[in-house]
């Protein structure tokens, strides 16, 4: 009985069983040929799951589909004639689908397909052919040069770096009020492009620059992922970018008819920040464009009603109390007010947006990434005269550590270094599309160009130490690589604290940059000091620099007491005695005892000595 059921091949249309067939393979091929003829919609996909003996037909929306060239009897259906016609623009892409040369497959139907990557890979069993061999990479990766020469993991890293690249993200950036925006000063089109890059017209809004690099160590300053950058190049605008930040505020309305008001806050407001903070505001309480601002400066003066209502009750004739709720430039930030706009919310309340801009010159700690998943952090900005130079006087912009290459297997990085050098000499871009040429063809081309311009064919050059003027013992691989400046910049992240605010509940220092916080000295860090036996250092960290709290403890009954300053006496409220000792405990411990007391449990502290 059970066997008979599984013999039937059920058909699911968009997940719903609608019937069964005796010969699934014949049925599937019939549906497919009908689709290729145009008898049924080209959006229908059919897949036979041989293991489950089930057919899935999908016609619903939301499926990701990819075009493939149909292969029948070991021959591509996209014939030479069709290609010629396409090139002459006699026919268009959709014609190919109607002609049964191409079809779209969804994820399920792909399981039934045997796809050849290139025409030479076709075997009698092949059912489809990739439109182009580069299709095995995604769109993003195809914008990188020579992806076929790189380790797969590096592609993924490139894909995540390119998302963080600063460039020209929108040509109307000057009119936009994005909360954060990064604009590269001098974006360049890469010397090595790819078909995908050109098709996307990425060079119209490029996100990087061509850096002259040398694969050389610099007195150990570029070990690991560190890179050394020439100050000369930085001064000439290499990697320079603008950072825009928008502060925005609204005149909110509150229940009870109260509302916020944009104005110069009067000195009587609660939380008044002091006259100097408001000095840059104009009469309407809002800052003017092109004013230099830094931390602590008020951008928009705002006066808000008190947070709690009771304060105003009963005080009939008195002036209403107000609270200062101005926008202040965050600690560690500075720049120039770029633009100020007024607008209105749907609820007809007034909105102010203030955009502050600041130049971000590459500095120690800023991050860069090439198109081969190779990131680097500036470790030193070397004066131009101290940088190594070539015989012809070229000073590299960036020094990359050669140890970063072999382990990561980013051969494409080396290939780009070489070919971009050739491209810069030749004066035209070079194509780096995947599989466009073989490695040998490429090397032959590039070496020929380099030799023609009098350079070493392998890109190696004699470099001289900028500090001593002596030639390096080894010839050094020098060339050009397209680098992206990524938005992780120290000036936006750096933070310090020595003393500062504490949390109300625990009296321990606050956490996080926005709250001027400290770095948590956690459990494992604590264990390290314990293991070292540094008991006083540990006490300093955990108590003196944290939540130290003096308490009076009754020597007789062990409960907390207080100091009566009028009588100049220590008092124990429980036993009434005045024999108390002052000790320092952590506020967290005091809090614990308080909470235990609130559960009607009485903890007592006994003191020695």
């Amino acid at each position: 009985m059970a066997k008979k059921i599984s013999e039937k091949c059920y058909i699911h249309l968009n997940g719903r069983a609608i019937g069964h067939v005796a010969d699934p393979l014949a049925f599937v091929s019939e549906v497919r040929s009908a689709r290729r003829k145009g008898a049924i919609s080209g959006e229908v996909n059919i897949a036979y799951m041989s293991r489950l003996n089930v057919i899935h037909i999908n016609t619903d929306r939301g499926r990701v589909r990819k075009p493939y060239i149909i292969v029948e009897d070991g021959k591509s259906k996209l014939t030479k004639e069709l290609l010629d016609k396409l090139q002459k623009k006699e026919i268009e892409f959709n014609y190919l689908i109607r002609a049964g040369a191409l079809e779209f497959l969804d994820a399920e139907e792909e399981e039934n397909a045997l796809v050849a990557i290139s025409e030479s890979d076709i075997t009698p069993k092949t059912t489809h052919l990739e439109v182009d061999p580069t299709m095995i990479f995604g769109l993003t990766i195809n914008t990188a040069p020579y992806p076929e020469s790189n380790n797969l993991a590096r592609h993924l890293m490139f894909a995540s770096y390119i998302k963080q690249a600063q460039g020209l993200y929108a040509t109307n950036f000057n009119l936009r009020f994005d909360s954060r925006a990064y604009i590269l000063f001098y974006p360049q089109a890469p010397l090595i492009t790819t078909t995908a890059y050109e098709t996307l017209k990425f060079s119209n809004h490029a996100s990087g620059q061509n850096f002259v690099i040398a694969l050389s160590t610099q007195y150990g300053y570029n070990k690991q992922d560190a890179v050394v950058v020439s100050k000369g190049a930085v001064d000439r605008g290499l990697g320079r970018s603008m950072f825009y930040k928008t502060y925005s505020d609204e005149e909110r309305r509150y229940p009870g008819g109260q509302k916020d008001v944009f104005k110069m806050p009067p000195a009587t407001t609660d939380g008044y920040l002091g006259e100097h903070a408001y000095a840059k505001l104009s009469d309407d309480g809002i800052i003017e464009p092109e004013l230099d601002v830094e931390e602590g400066d008020v951008l928009v003066g705002k006066v808000a009603p008190p947070r709690f209502l009771e304060e105003n009750l009963g005080a009939g004739g008195l002036e209403e109390k107000t609270r200062d709720d101005s926008i202040v430039v965050k600690p560690g930030e500075k720049g120039v007010v770029d633009r100020v706009i007024f607008t209105e919310s749907p609820g007809a309340t007034k909105i102010v947006k203030v955009r502050v801009r600041g130049i971000r010159v590459p500095e120690v700690g800023d991050k860069f990434g090439s198109r081969h998943g190779q990131k680097g952090v500036i470790s030193q900005v070397v004066p131009n005269e101290d940088m190594p130079f070539t015989e012809s006087g070229i000073v590299p912009d960036l020094l990359l550590n050669p140890h970063g290459i072999p382990g990561r297997m980013t051969f494409g990085h080396l290939l780009e270094t070489l070919s971009a050098k050739a491209a810069s000499l030749k004066g035209s871009k070079i194509d780096g599309t995947a599989f466009a040429q073989t490695g040998k063809e490429r090397m032959d081309d590039y070496t020929k160009i380099l030799e023609a311009y009098g350079f070493d064919k392998h890109g190696e050059e004699q470099l001289y130490d900028g500090v001593t003027g002596r030639p390096f013992k080894a010839k050094i691989f020098t060339g050009i690589v397209y680098y992206n400046r990524l938005y992780h910049m120290v000036s936006n992240k750096m933070q310090v604290r020595s003393r500062g605010s504490v949390q109300i509940l625990t009296h321990q220092p606050t956490e996080g940059k926005a709250r001027q916080g400290g770095l948590r000295f956690g459990e494992m860090e604590r264990d390290v000091l314990v293991a070292y036996g540094a008991s006083l250092l540990l006490k300093e960290r955990m108590l003196d620099q944290s939540d130290k709290w003096p308490v009076l403890i009754c020597n007789d009954c062990g409960s907390f007491g207080y100091r009566d300053y009028a009588k100049k006496l220590n008092v124990c409220p429980l036993c009434g005695g005045s024999n108390l000792t002052e000790v320092e405990i952590s506020y967290a411990f005091k809090l614990l005892l308080d909470e235990i007391r609130s559960l009607h449990i009485r903890p007592r502290i006994g003191l020695n000595e």
Binding site: V528, G533, L538, S586, L592
Partner: protein, 347 residues
């Protein structure tokens, strides 16, 4: 010279050896993989390894996931495979299930017939009559070998339920060997070339009386069994050895002293304690130290109910209140106190 090094490497007063051991084991321990790959080999040699084994040992699990014992042999047997194999057969655990094809119950005459697997029977060197004798002795049943080489048991009852319950019991009846010993296989040592027995189970209490085995060298990876049979010192040695070998097996090199400290701590009270809230940490003296670890509420409530006192002698509780910890530089105290000096000078 040797003496000099000896003194200089000695642990000093107040050295937090426990924390150092914890860190020294914990840090490389993070690299341990959860699942380990096994290599093809004899079934008996596959034991739990890696992190699961470490967890099992530190949690003081009563029965190991894969018990395993090595039985070393005395003079003659360790050089003679045949003699070693004879001992192995005494140990090798054989149950009715292992040597039978099926068990047939005849409810009309109340007889149960065990159809023996002749090949399996030969492999363990047993005859049907031996099987029958063993069953009749152990279960006080009338069992006899049949001419076809099977075993027939008369139950003297016709109650269906009783017959079934007897036959189920028979399936797991021990025919020969030591209960719990598992498959015992003679193995040749790669280093000495001597024969010894490896078994995929352990019951050293019953293995020890067997003639020809080296009672001093018998080993099991079951810490609790070692404790039960040979005492706490043996259990401590097994614990340390198992921990060390598990780390070594993962390519993690930890100084033996750290592992020994853990084993000492777990056995120092005369019985095996786990590391955790049911063991070492749960039996800490300080209320605060226990509450800071796990089950905070339970410890605080009990402390309140029984009026416990925290003497502030440990590390955790002193950090909590903000006192100097009694370790490292914190163990040093003034022998003569300021007040005492003042008192004396007054006199």
């Amino acid at each position: 010279m040797a003496k000099k090094i000896d003194i200089s490497t000695k642990v000093q007063q107040g050295e937090p050896v426990g924390v150092i051991a914890a860190q020294s084991i914990g840090e490389p321990g993070t690299q341990m993989i959860l699942k380990t790959f096994h290599f093809a080999g004899i079934a008996a040699t596959i034991t739990t390894s890696g992190l699961p084994r470490i967890v099992e040992l530190l949690d003081a699990k009563k029965i190991p996931t894969t018990p395993f014992s090595s039985i070393y042999l005395m003079d003659e047997a360790k050089k003679d495979f045949v003699k070693a194999d004879q001992i192995a057969k005494k140990i090798n655990e054989v149950r009715v299930n292992d040597i039978s094809r099926r068990i047939l119950e005849n409810f009309s005459n109340g007889k149960i017939r065990i159809v023996l697997d002749k090949q399996a029977l030969e492999a363990v060197d047993l005859t049907p009559s031996q099987v029958a004798a063993r069953i009749s002795k152990a279960y006080e049943l009338d069992a006899a070998a049949t001419p076809e080489g099977n075993v027939e048991i008369s139950t003297h009852t016709k109650v269906l339920k009783d017959i079934r319950s007897i036959s189920v019991k028979l399936m797991h009846a021990l025919v020969s060997g030591v209960a719990g010993a598992g498959k015992a296989v003679v193995t040749q040592s790669k280093t000495t070339g001597e024969f010894y027995i490896e078994s995929a189970g352990s019951n050293i209490e019953l293995m020890l009386p067997i003639d020809g085995i080296d009672k001093a060298k018998i080993y099991t990876n079951d810490v609790f069994e070692m404790y039960k049979v040979l005492g706490i010192e043996a259990a401590r040695n097994v614990l340390a050895k198992e921990l060390k070998e598990t780390f070594d097996g993962q390519g993690i090199n930890i100084n033996e002293r750290h592992v020994l400290l853990v084993a000492d701590a777990m056995t120092s009270r005369g019985h095996i304690e786990s590391i955790g809230r049911h063991g070492l940490v749960g039996s800490k003296e300080s209320v605060f130290a226990r509450a800071a670890f796990e089950e905070t509420v339970k410890h605080l409530i009990n402390a309140a109910a029984f009026g416990e006192t925290d003497f502030m002698r440990g590390v955790t509780e002193n950090i909590l209140v903000g006192k100097q910890i009694p370790l490292g530089t914190g163990v040093v105290k003034l022998a003569v106190k300021k007040q005492d000096v003042e008192k004396k000078s007054k006199k």
